[in-house]
């Protein structure tokens, strides 16, 4: 075995001494230079490497047959956790600060006394008995570099002095000390120590849930910055631009920044998930609100994407027409987005006459310019149904993973894209017949030919616009892999008809059609839609989406528009998110695991809290994960304790101490620095949001309120208000500055939490003219301004509440999932929408057991109430709960849930 030690390293001492004492056959090797921790390493012949000095010492003694005892273990642990840190600090004090032996050893006092006590109480010569053990070598090895000889020990530590001297004189220790601790070696070690931060002793850090301030975030302020911030503050609300109210409908205005924002169109046969919501509509909404606050002329449109095979199959399943399905889900979507306070200027849909007109126009222009190709495709045809089967109308065994219910376009199990004709054992989804492969004609968009137009446009858009890194990357890899002609027609009925002979029974493929929805939805909003969509000179277009939609927006749709050659507005800024994951143990195969938009409402957590949390973990740059406990944590720490606490305190001080009137302010240098600090955060907020870094900008808001809390905490206005004239003036200044910070926070928050922002506006009576964003922090609530009634903005989320939600939405099949249409595609065609709870897998033993227990528990509870003659209303509620549980249990057991009529009702 080879022992590598660094010359001068104090830890080398004990291992060398131990090797000597245990007569271990080691070969010494120098430590590789630049081994930073300066600790010895023992390489065993087996290849195992020991890096802990105590374990190395232990090993030498073990190899000689000396087993560790409770006592040696205890000494070794004590040495590692208590003595070692103190000895290092003492050594540092000696070598770096030049303190003398005894002085430096003072810190060791208690520990030395501990050794003394043990030795004298046991009356043994050595630490763990009457013979030398590993414990003696280890403790001596740590003490020796600090003490050097026993004379530096206080004389009352008699037993320790004796032990220490006999150790130092032992051959192994003496040799080790001679070889390691030559003065020169210690100097070398000193050089190393000087580069290290001083060792800190027993730092008891308070645990906190607050995120630690990032180092270096507190950069020094310059005098100019402070002066500028004070000037801006003094200019007051008059310096703010007037909030601009656009005419309705919003149309581009010459000389203004005209921002057109789209969110990827949610597909109509799904209830949107939290992931959909943060991925597009909510992100786009936050940005749109920001743009409006900047006085940019902004139009935000979205709508449901309604054509396509999924709608048609869904309609067949539910026994409705495709249009009925679309109507139903369009209303569900609109409801959910209304609840989430999404500020669309217009929320439309793709099944409108404008969609047909515009899509067919683009098609005709592409055809006329020779950008469409015709080709024969081998496709599955069901002879019974007399139709070619579009991807979703066929199921079969996946050719890659042999999953038996793979769809014609994609396998749900392995996720691979499938060409429908490659499915093994294909089946027609409608009649379960076996389809045959037949040739059929289709139209293709000639992407290779369009590439020469695409490339220069992309280059220009990337140079001038903000595309997220993933959008650029995905686009680049698509083009690198080579563009191929892409089929734009499908054998379906539910879609925009292809206006060309020979194709009249076909419709446009949804991905040719869907992005055209942006145009047609705008057309339904205003007949002057072309002023937005054929106006690249005046309009800046932002597309928001999740990353899986990137190629359609960066390659295919731009190619369609470039080929159609009609001065279309093409995307300038493509903002793509990564994925939001749901972290939970239960794996559910069916698609649609997680929390859906309509359920968020049922949680009882306000929409603004959802908005905050989703934006706080917006998958910006990398995937993120939704977690219930984290939601609670962020609500309680960031919103309640930080933001809400600050705004509430600032407002309360004005009410309680100054009768609701903002007091006079006399700024001190500290206040001025705070103004500059807040201005820096504000500028950072703008910088980030201009680059659509929504999540990062939210951190700036929280940072400002953290500064605010600190400011209040340090200045203690609640104490000073009781003091002399000067103290009261100080309390006034601090309160005035704080309430103005709160006023600005209300504006900064508006894109994120519109209702909370409105609530603050109401409480502090912020003039509507101040609801505009500038780059300066100004005094918008001047002395004399009257505030309204101040009340708390946020509520604490309790552990029980969140645990209950986790259980309800987290695992298994929560009852509410039943309303999620995509939870399970049951073949039962014309059944009415399934009643809640029928989706629970019948016979799930875990569920049955859980419910049985709950029924028993609730039953006992009811009996208890009745026995105690509880109020009737209370008993009734508990009985209702019991009945509901029994019903769920019956369903879980696969029985017919015959709910007995509650007794109370029968009586009267």
């Amino acid at each position: 075995m080879r022992l590598r030690v660094a010359a001068g390293g104090p830890a080398a001492l004990k291992v060398l001494a131990a090797a000597g004492a245990a007569a271990a056959p080691v070969r010494l090797r120098p430590l590789a230079p630049l081994s930073p921790p300066w600790v010895p390493v023992l390489e065993l012949d087996s290849g195992t490497v020991l890096f802990s000095p105590n374990a190395i010492c232990q090993f030498f003694f073990l190899a000689r047959g000396e087993e560790p005892t409770d006592l040696t273990n205890q000494w070794l642990e004590w040495e590692a956790t208590e003595l070692q840190p103190a000895a290092s600090a003492a050594l540092y004090a000696q070598l770096v600060h030049g303190k003398k032996g005894l002085e430096a050893a003072e810190a060791l006092g208690k520990l030395l006394a501990h050794i003394e006590q043990n030795l004298s109480r046991r009356g043994t010569a050595y630490l763990a008995g009457n013979t030398e053990s590993v414990a003696d070598v280890v403790v001596w090895g740590t003490l020796f570099p600090v003490l050097r000889d026993e004379t530096s020990l206080p004389s009352e530590l008699q037993a320790l002095r004796t032990w220490f001297r006999s150790m130092t004189l032992s051959e192994a220790c003496r040799k080790a000390a001679d070889s390691v601790l030559m003065p020169k070696a210690l100097l070398e070690f000193k050089a190393y120590l000087q580069k290290q931060p001083p060792p800190c002793l027993a730092v008891e850090k308070a645990t906190s849930n607050e995120p630690e301030e990032e180092e270096g975030s507190e950069r020094a302020l310059t005098e100019e910055e402070i002066t500028a911030a004070v000037d801006a503050w003094a200019r007051g609300a008059a310096a703010l631009p007037k909030p601009w109210q656009p005419q309705k409908p919003v149309l581009p205005v010459e000389g203004m920044r005209n921002v057109l924002i789209t969110s990827a169109l949610p597909y109509v046969n799904n209830v949107p998930h939290l992931g959909n919501i943060i991925g597009c509509v909510l992100s786009a909404d936050t940005f749109a609100r920001y743009c409006r606050l900047r006085n940019w002329n902004t139009l935000y449109v979205c709508g449901t994407d309604e054509y396509g095979t999924a709608t048609e199959t869904k309609a067949v399943e539910e026994g409705l027409t495709p249009q009925e399905i679309c109507n139903k889900y369009n209303a569900i979507h609109a409801d959910i987005y209304r609840w989430f306070d999404i500020s669309f200027d217009y929320f439309g849909r793709t099944t409108t006459p404008y969609q047909t007109t515009i899509a067919q126009d683009i098609f005709q222009r592409l055809l006329a310019r020779g950008f469409l190709l015709q080709d024969t495709v081998e496709q599955l045809r069901c002879e019974d149904c007399q139709r070619f089967l579009a991807d979703r109308f066929v199921e079969g065994t996946c050719p890659f993973c042999s999953y038996e219910e793979a769809r014609g376009d994609q396998c749900d199990k392995c996720g691979k894209l499938i060409n429908a004709v490659e499915l093994k054992n294909p089946q027609c989804k409608l009649c379960r017949g076996v389809p045959v492969v037949k040739p059929t004609q289709h139209l293709f968009l000639d992407l290779p030919k369009l590439e020469e137009r695409l490339e220069p446009w992309l280059e220009q858009s990337w140079a001038t616009g903000d595309w997220t890194a993933n959008a650029r990357y995905i686009t680049r890899s698509w083009i690198r892999d080579g563009l191929k002609p892409r089929c734009i027609t499908r054998d379906l009925k539910w879609g925009t008809p292809v206006p060309l002979d020979g194709f009249r029974d076909k419709v446009f493929y949804v991905w040719f059609d869907a992005p055209i929805g942006y145009l047609s939805i705008t057309a339904n909003y205003t007949d002057q839609w072309e002023r937005w969509w054929k106006n690249p000179q005046q309009v800046e277009l932002y597309n928001f989406m999740a990353k899986d939609n990137v190629p359609f927006h960066s390659v295919i749709f731009p190619c369609s528009l470039l080929g159609a050659d009609d001065n279309y507005t093409l995307v300038n800024h493509l903002i793509a998110t990564e994925y939001l994951n749901y972290e939970d143990g239960k794996f559910s195969k069916s698609r649609g695991v997680g929390v859906f938009g309509d359920m968020a409402k049922d949680t009882g957590i306000p929409a603004d809290i959802w908005r905050f949390y989703l934006l706080y973990l917006r998958p910006e740059g990398q995937d993120s994960a939704f977690s219930w406990s984290d939601l609670m944590l962020k609500n309680n720490s960031e919103l309640l304790n930080n933001l809400g606490n600050f705004i509430n305190r600032a407002g309360m001080f004005v009410c309680k101490f100054f009768g609701g009137t903002v007091p006079n302010m006399v700024l001190t240098p500290d206040d001025k620095r705070l103004l500059a600090r807040v201005t820096l955060e504000l500028r950072q907020y703008h910088q980030l949001l201009e680059k659509v870094r929504i999540r990062d900008a939210l951190r700036c808001i929280l940072s400002i309120s953290r500064h605010g809390n600190q400011y209040i905490q340090v200045n203690e206005p609640w104490k000073r208000i009781k003091g002399d004239e000067k103290d009261r003036q100080r309390a006034g200044t601090v309160t005035g500055v704080a309430v103005n910070m709160a006023s600005m926070l209300a504006v900064l928050l508006q894109p994120y939490m519109p209702s909370i922002s409105l609530a603050i506006q109401g409480q502090l009576c912020i003039p509507p003219d101040c609801f505009v964003l500038s780059h300066d922090f100004t005094c918008t609530l001047p002395p004399g301004h009257r505030v309204g009634t101040v009340s708390p903005l946020f509520q604490k989320l309790e552990n029980d509440q969140v645990e209950a939600l986790r259980k309800r939405f987290g695992g298994g099949q929560p009852e509410d999932l039943a309303v999620a249409p995509q939870a399970r595609q049951t073949p039962a065609a014309s059944e009415p929408p399934p009643a809640p709870a029928t989706l629970m897998a019948p016979g799930d033993p875990q569920l049955i057991q859980k419910l049985t227990e709950e029924v028993a528990k609730q039953g006992n509870h009811v009996r208890q109430l009745k026995a105690n003659k509880a109020e009737k209303a209370q008993v009734d509620t508990e009985v209702a709960k019991l009945l509901e549980l029994k019903k769920q249990l019956a369903l879980a057991e696969g029985k017919n849930p015959e709910v007995p009529v509650p007794k109370g009702k029968r009586k009267k």
Binding site: L50, S52, Q74, Y267, D548, R591, V593, A625
Partner: protein
Amino acid sequence: VPVLQTNNGPGLTGLTTIAAHLVKQAKKDQLLGRTAEEKAVVQQWLEYRVTRVDGGSSKEDTRIILKDLNIHLEDKVYFAGNIFTLADILMYYGLHHVMVDLTVQEKEQYLNVSRWFNHIQHYPGVRQHLPNVIFIKNRLYTNAH
């Protein structure tokens, strides 16, 4: 620092000391390693637990610890190689509060630590009252349609 009051003697102080004592009492000596080498390795990780894992306080300390452990566990099932020892148990308890707070991405980043941790928490009798840490992730949504 825990103290164990025994029937004879002044009692024992220190987490690893007490743990090793109880292991011997229970006649599960194999948990302390069988050979001299294994014993030294177990000792080393017990020491690591009480000095590095318990001593680390900053996020940066935690990151370094996870990074080092991830490298160590790259080619090992357990801390001492192929046998389950007291080192695994005490490291499990020491790291639990760290693992609970990791994001999905971090769990993937420290894949070997995650794999080891998940293994240990399912080892019979180890987890006791601590909550199970989840290592599976489900995608909340995909936009495919």
